[in-house]
């Protein structure tokens, strides 16, 4: 029983980072109707930079630089999306394809600059003991950062004019343009915000389970799974989706084979894709 609780608490630790990665994914989905496959790569980039700059200068500077680099990377894909938008008549798949290219690009950048070794930092050498369960203080940090970010994203999306415009232009781009909403600028800012969130998530992953240059795609998928488990349309759901996946993953890693446990987020995604809402036959719901 204790064992199960301990696995679950470790799952929460991991799940918070997945939940944080779900933010940028659902945000971009809300704002642009596409999925950015490079989100995990921003996180890896931010984590790697945070580790190396942190190691040679100081951790706080490292973290800030890492997050900044994440934002810059997402600004790059944001500009690409604007350039594509002009040519490709808004076909969402083209951006997915471009972001796949960008993910591999960043993976190779990280490999070239920082090498093959895993990136990880675990500054806490002690554990909290809560009712016999050992919990790393990092869990506390993750949960607090996660909750703060949920609150911030919620306020931004639902309590500011920026958020209202983003949601409006996602619903109907043409109507939004006619209403004078600067759709392109909004898209771009949504990408930047996604990069910021992914960067923060990357730093937390660095301080939690760590990663290596090739972790990007797995992180993207974990975040995507988190985002869709309870429905793509809201950052809160993504956060709890992340927790759910993290817990199931650590429990199965604890009781079964560690390598195979990383299949868990994938299974979640696949189940949601096949059984999820809107999974009926036919194009119902699409405006004919």
């Amino acid at each position: 029983m204790y064992e199960l609780l301990e696995f679950s608490s470790r799952g929460v630790l991991l799940g918070v980072t997945y939940g944080l990665l779900a933010f940028p994914i659902s945000l971009l989905f809300i704002a642009t109707d596409t999925v950015d496959l490079a989100v995990g790569a921003y996180a890896v980039l931010a984590g790697a930079v945070a580790m190396f700059v942190g190691g040679s200068v100081n951790p706080a500077v490292g973290i800030l630089t890492g997050i900044l680099v994440g934002v810059l990377a997402s600004a790059a894909i944001g500009s690409i999306s604007l350039m594509l938008g002009r040519r490709q008549k808004g076909d969402p798949l083209v951006l997915v394809l471009a972001s796949f290219g960008f993910a591999i690009f960043l993976e190779s950048v990280v490999l070239t600059l920082f090498g093959k070794d895993p990136f990880i930092r675990q500054p806490f050498t002690y554990f909290w003991n809560i009712g016999g369960i050992r919990i790393s203080p990092q869990a506390g940090v993750n949960v607090v950062v996660g909750l703060l970010l949920i609150a911030a994203v919620y306020v931004l999306l639902y309590r500011t004019s920026w958020g209202r415009d983003v949601r409006a232009s996602a619903n109907n781009e043409r109507a939004a343009l006619l209403a004078g909403i600067p759709v392109r600028a909004l898209r771009f800012s949504a990408f930047m915000l996604a990069g910021l969130l992914a960067g923060i998530a990357g730093v937390l992953v660095l301080y939690t389970s760590g990663m290596d240059f090739a972790s990007g795609m797995h992180l993207t998928l974990a975040g995507f799974g988190a985002a869709i488990v309870f429905g793509l349309h809201g950052p809160l759901r993504g956060f709890f989706g992340g927790l759910a996946i993290g817990v199931v993953e650590t429990i199965s890693a604890g009781y079964a084979n560690g390598g195979l446990a990383s299949l868990v987020p994938l299974l979640f995604i696949f189940l949601v894709l096949t059984l999820g809402r809107g999974g009926r036959q036919g194009p119902a719901g699409v405006r004919a």
Partner: protein, 253 residues
């Protein structure tokens, strides 16, 4: 042999687009649906063809309940439709576009497409002959090799109608077919619809031009805010005061 729509409701989130709507479309008759913008005419088409789900009520075609039958199968079993804004591939030629309309008759499986047995070449040749005939009927032969993106709206609409006719449906649902057509094109359209009705095709028609409805429709249904306001012949309907208020737009503030 008819389409029977009974008491259907269609909702989009909070919006009720259709409420308690019923109609019967016999084969061989022309039925017009009119109503102000947003009254649910296109939604009625979508409900019959399975493009939207109905919340309650039923749609039956030739006595067969359509519940759970996907849109594509409904089309393939003999209900064709056009869209209010024609859905075209601007790069495709007119003849290729119309050829796509034959899909329900092509009966070519994936394997035949891949291996191209002689039987398939024969079917293809036959489809091309039939395509020429349809294009001829709608006066479109002159445009056969042009790209859809290069054509004026009226022609695009006629091509769309040709594509729907190509499937040789038992029922044809036309959503504002005459919008943007010239007088001559309208006449070709009227003549074709009459011809189809005479051959036993049931035609359901959304149209704003009442003059055209008078010339064409056997009966008229007036929708207003998702409900049936009036039924009757064009003459009967046009004399009713409710029609005048609803249709001349006072209810569309």
């Amino acid at each position: 042999m008819s389409i029977e729509v009974e008491k259907i409701d269609v909702r989009f989130g909070g919006v009720t687009a259709l409420q308690d709507v019923g109609l019967t479309l016999q084969r061989g008759e022309v039925l017009a649906v009119i109503g102000p913008n947003g009254s649910g005419k296109s939604t009625l088409f979508n409900a019959i063809t399975g493009f939207v789900d109905i919340a309650s009520g039923s749609v039956a075609v030739d006595g067969k309940d359509m519940a759970g039958i996907p849109a594509a199968s409904r089309i393939a079993s003999g209900i064709s439709r056009t869209f209010q804004t024609p859905r075209i591939n601007p790069a495709a030629t007119v003849e290729d576009s119309v050829l796509c309309g034959f899909h329900p008759h092509a009966r070519i499986s994936f394997w035949e497409g891949l291996l191209r047995p002689p039987a398939m070449s024969r079917t293809e040749a036959e489809l091309r002959r039939r395509r020429t005939r349809v294009l001829e009927q709608l006066d479109l032969l002159g445009f056969a090799e042009q790209q859809m993106g290069e054509l004026p709206m009226g022609i695009v609409r006629m091509v769309d109608i040709a594509r729907a006719m190509a499937a040789e449906p038992n029922y044809l649902l036309l959503d504002e077919p005459a919008a943007g057509l010239s007088k001559t094109e309208q006449n070709v359209l009227i003549q074709q619809v009459r011809q189809l009705a005479k051959q036993g095709v049931g035609v359901l028609l959304v149209e704003h031009n009442f003059g055209l409805i008078r010339r064409l429709a056997d009966r008229v249904i007036v929708l207003d805010r998702g409900k049936v306001l009036l039924r009757g012949t064009a003459d009967e309907v046009s004399k009713r005061p409710e029609f005048v208020t609803a249709y001349l737009g006072t209810s569309v503030q």
